[in-house]
């Protein structure tokens, strides 16, 4: 989800490119620590820029030449755009924002709020008898609501 495209679009595309080398999670975590934190401390946009992205990627042992090509390639551009379109469909306009087995948790909430929803969704999932490997696809994506519904809208049949 890109809320500030002018400063972080490269970082999101780099995440996509890092995933192509099997290091999405490592890149994401390193970016928070080595790019976002210094950026937030000094409000220095260059910390989110391509030079720092490449430095982080190099430290992680990524092929930086390939990373740069993938970042600028059509697949990663489309990937980030698709993510944004998908989230816009459900009226996500700010971050952080979470769907826990399809249930919305909006904003930086306390751990207890996460636990409450996770426990509730886990009970439902366990009662369904569907395996974990299939649960999201069959029960959440398969039976969930395909469009946003607000608290003012009646439930669709």
């Amino acid at each position: 989800m890109v809320v500030h495209p002018q400063v972080v679009m490269d970082a999101h595309r780099a995440g996509c490119a890092a995933a192509k080398q099997g290091k999405f999670v490592a890149f994401k975590d390193a970016f928070w620590d080595k790019a976002f934190d210094p950026y937030a401390a000094a409000r220095e946009p260059s910390k989110l820029g391509v030079d720092n992205i490449m430095a982080i990627a190099k430290d992680l042992g990524l092929d930086t030449a390939k990373l740069k090509i993938d970042m600028e390639g059509p697949q990663c551009r489309a990937q980030v755009d698709n993510d944004m379109s998908e989230l816009a469909k459900f009226h996500v306009s700010g971050t952080p924002f979470f769907f826990i087995n399809g249930k919305v948790l909006d904003g930086a909430q306390p751990k207890e709020e996460f636990k409450k929803i996770i426990d509730e969704r886990l009970k439902v999932a366990e009662a369904s008898g569907v395996s974990g490997a299939d649960y999201y696809e069959k029960e959440v994506f398969g039976k969930g609501e395909k469009q946003f519904r607000s608290k003012q809208d009646p439930k669709r049949p």
Binding site: L48, D83, G102, E145
Partner: protein, 108 residues
């Protein structure tokens, strides 16, 4: 004094009294008019304030309704398509997990 003089004096007193009453009536009327004008001015001012408050209330109501239109239904389970992200490897945790959390975050 003669009767004629008494009569003239009485007429003068009555005329004077009549004049006083008329003046008092006029004064009363002027006061009423002034009070009415003040009341009308106060009413107009209150009506203006009330109209302003009504506008503010309508605006706030519209904002509240707009906000509620953007709040997801608490019972909704949304079918977010995560297939492309999973295929692309933008995922962490066990693929056997019964609970999937879709995170929307921005690096800024």
């Amino acid at each position: 004094m003669t009767n004629l003089t008494h009569g003239a004096l009485l007429a003068t007193v009555l005329a004077a009294l009549g004049g006083c009453q008329h003046q008092a009536q006029r004064a009363n009327n002027a006061t009423l008019e002034q009070r009415l004008a003040r009341l009308e001015a106060a009413y107009a001012k209150d009506a203006e304030a009330l109209e302003f408050l009504n506008k503010v209330y309508e605006q706030q109501k519209a904002q509240q309704q707009a906000h509620e239109r953007e709040e997801p239904a608490p019972d909704a389970v949304f079918a977010v398509d995560i297939t492309p992200d999973v295929k692309a490897g933008q995922v962490e945790g066990s693929p056997q997990a019964l609970v999937t959390i879709v995170e929307a975050w921005d690096f800024a």
